[in-house]
Subunit: 180 residues, 2 copies
Amino acid sequence: MTGGTTVEEKYIKTLQEQQGSFLTFRQDEVALSNGARATRDMVLHPGAVAIIAVTEEEEVIFVKQYRYPVQTVLYEIPAGKLEKGEDPLICATRELEEETGFVAKSWEKITTFYTAPGFANETMHLYYARDLVKKEAHPDPDEIITFAKIKLSEALQMIEKGEIQDAKTLIALLWLAKAK
Amino acid sequence: MTGGTTVEEKYIKTLQEQQGSFLTFRQDEVALSNGARATRDMVLHPGAVAIIAVTEEEEVIFVKQYRYPVQTVLYEIPAGKLEKGEDPLICATRELEEETGFVAKSWEKITTFYTAPGFANETMHLYYARDLVKKEAHPDPDEIITFAKIKLSEALQMIEKGEIQDAKTLIALLWLAKAK
């Protein structure tokens, strides 16, 4: 360990702010600990959950959906945004069933992380779900989602080939590979 | 594999757009493949690199810095934004030396991923750097960064304890643990 102390940046003022349908864009002027000033662009996000759901045959449940910001279809683990004040585990249970129709009897919290802390405050709660029962999927009206079951071993090969391009999905799969 | 085809969302019009210092916030109206319309909030980002640099003693080079959007100090692997038209490997070489003073003789591309494809187009190029030589660090004037060398085994324990909260750092460490 080297170097001095790392200290916080103090809010001075908001230079601009714009409200989207679920994101808030904000640009703040801040004071650094050395007295210098800097501008910080960021988006405020309601927070999210993601679920790595695994069958008894060690198949991982994926959703495949078009992601407009990156203009491509991605394989991802099921995920969704927190509603205001919602408990993350309740949200995870809801999102897994909505997007894939699977209901899990066993839930384990893996970790909580920031997807892009350099420019967003999104906090992602990651869960491991097992003992799955299949019911009917009912995604949000503005989500067109298909699901796929892929063997963990095959999913890990997809990582090697660069076919898994979503950060939370990489974390979940690599975590599961390490835990096995 | 179940379900129908997943197809793209078509741009209709931009409802609002705001330019920050490096992010652009945009809200578009889009047409889904089923004919329905939806609103998409997103931020446009220049893209970034991250580097997991490992010493001969199997220590991982971390940077510790205050992240204003999440109001906390995080342990992260070195990373930085791409300059316009910059080659990711050249950017990675530059960022590693600027933030930590380390110069690596051996570089390997791990993968490319999207940090938050639901609301941002940030593309992150992840590298594995070895054969390190220490020179002088010279971070950007608006970055107050200290660096730390942490044994891989200890870093993995930090994950277990929830002390690594940054997505790219989790991906890099779990990838390295699996590769070992």
